[in-house]
């Protein structure tokens, strides 16, 4: 049961992610991205990380992506035109992709990995996450807030209309 759910969510996530990139229409791209986030939340649940799954749905799939969707609809972006790629770039990327796929499947085949999804050491409740976040991972947590601040300042600077 757990295994089949894992494969279901993985396949759903990967195909939604693929559709996000390949879709010509920006609105459907965003919708597929939301679906990909939902499947990821499913994977988190399988790992017992319930809090993470809830946050994933509430924050990413809910708040951020809805905002995204609004902006894209307000901007009224046209569907993307067909892009022309050089044959060399396409061939090279396909070659690299196939090589990586072969390598990964080789590893998956020869490595005796646990058959069930990884077993986490803790239950992913709010209490556990909070304990870890504010003891062992305190410093990375604080630095991440600086990272977000820097990103925010950067976005404001770059997207601002300059007065002439």
């Amino acid at each position: 049961m757990e295994n089949s759910l894992f494969y279901f969510f993985s396949v759903a996530m990967l195909s939604c992610a693929l559709l996000t990139i390949t879709c010509k229409n920006p609105v459907s791209s965003v919708i597929f991205l939301v679906l990909a986030f939902f499947s990821m939340a499913g994977l988190f649940v399988l790992l017992n990380a319930f809090f993470l799954a809830a946050v994933q749905v509430l924050v990413y799939a809910g708040a951020i992506m809805v905002l995204f969707l609004f902006v894209i609809m307000l901007l009224n972006l046209p569907a993307e035109e067909k892009r022309h790629r050089g044959w060399f770039g396409g061939a090279a990327s396909i070659f690299v992709m196939v090589a990586l796929m072969l390598e990964l499947s080789f590893v998956a085949h020869h490595e005796k990995l646990a058959s069930s999804p990884a077993s986490p050491g803790i239950d992913g409740t709010t209490e556990d996450v909070g304990m870890v976040l504010f003891s062992r991972y305190m410093l990375p947590f604080e630095v991440a807030s600086l990272l977000l601040l820097a990103a925010m300042i950067g976005v404001i600077i770059l997207s601002r209309k300059e007065k002439k």
Binding site: E103, L104, F106, V107, H110, E111, K112, L113, A118, S135, R136, Y137, M138, L139, P140, V143, A144, L146, L147, L149, A150, A151, I153, G154, I157, L158, E162
Partner: protein, 548 residues
Amino acid sequence: MNSSNILHVLNLLTPEIVLCGLAFGVLLLDIIFFRSDSVEHRHEQLGCSVIIGLVMVFFIYALQYMDWQNTFVVGHGAFVASRLNTLFKMAVVGLALITVVIGFKTPYSTHVGEYYGLMLFSVLGMVFLISSEDLLMIFIALELISLTLYVLTAFQKGARRSVEGGLKYFIFGGFSAAFLLFGLSYIYGATGHTSLREIAGALQGDQLAKVPMKMLGIGILFTLVGLGFKIAAAPFHLWAPDAYEGAPTPVAAMIATGSKIASFVALTKLLLIGLPAAAGSALSWPTRWHSGWAGTVAIIAVLSMTIGNFAAIMQTNVKRLLAYSSVAHAGYILVAIVAIQASGVPAPSAAPAIYFYIIIYALTNIGAFGVVNAIGSKAGGDDFEHFTGMARRSPYLSLLMLIFMLSLAGIPPLAGFFGKFYLFAAAVQADPKNLGLLWLVAYAIAMSAVSLYYYLKLTKQMYVLPAKDPRRVTSNPAMNTSLGLIGLMVLLMGVFPNKVVERFENLNANPYPIWEAAVPPPPQPEIPVPAPAEKPAVPAPAAPAPKS
């Protein structure tokens, strides 16, 4: 974590907190007090405060360096405070100081406070990256550096090249971050730890049988790709020329020096502390070549040296030339990283040689970028033609450029020569009986002969060809003084290289005793901060104190 521990951690983190406060202070000062002033005025005020603040941070680091004999580990290696790390942090803060001086009074944009604020955030990222020995912290610090540098690259919003460079840097950087994160997650998945020392512990002795090595291999491969982007090693260097060319010159200087130092320190730590057991070997192919990261790094080194040097020959823009030359220099450093575990045991001279070379390289490069900025802003561009006959138009700056170019090429009395000498000597000594790495060293020496051509081509442009425009080029006294000091340091480090290398060797008596010293044996109890306030000598017996 009790309160005395928190206080101790805050004490360790003083300079970082000051740096953070400085960044906020600059942002707020600009908004509250200087909004209505002219851009030049704001640039002066804020630039001066940033310089004063950075000097202060530099001195706090200097005090810590003199004061400490121990290594302190916070949060399982998320922050490791040691003398070696402090030395690198001093270098990074010093380079940031020079960057601010270089960019002084050359406003690229009206957002002065944000320019300095983001620059300080970037320095903060570098400082945290240097002192982290934890996969999570390494990733966050790297992203802090990268995100700020993307924005700073595109800061000159009116200029097409700046925006293009920023966009390319962003797309490549985002892609590489995905690779890095994927790789790190595999390393975590294979070993079950994020702390580098715990990873090393999981790869020791009978523990090793439990680790899925092939999965770990994939993780290392992807991590190397991700970090390869950050250090601009071929074939992951494609963003570098455009970003260097388009970015405002001080920002390009920062990408080329501070962020390079931090990324190389992180790479060295990851491979040396975390994954020495997975090194394999790159000795005389094919008989003694074992799979591991050494072979991959050797291939990246060869590609970097080849592509960097041959592509640099064709450049006609000085900043692009410096970009390709930095690709080549990343290759030279990787040669020594291959050597570090070449014959199963750590090579004693390899790590100090790498550290020495990174410092020399950064110093020389920031000097070169400073001259490019001084000349470029007056002569109207940084193509070769703008540098024609510069020896007559500005003898002082040209002399400095000559010193920096010859040092980068590795001509004897200058620091660059000894940097390369130690680097290649370490690679040869890594396997003294069979000279297994001779193939790599011989190739590196051949490639540095090639590099002489393009460095001299620029020098010829400045010294031999006549000037078309006879007007003199001058720069402000602060810039002249600081560039002169850098030139002097490049000369002195060439005359007395042993003084600097000894320092690294002392801190590194057997390759990394100080880093090692702090570590309780791998399966450690859950103590986030192993050092009470009154008696800071708890973590481990002090490593050999470098008293000469």
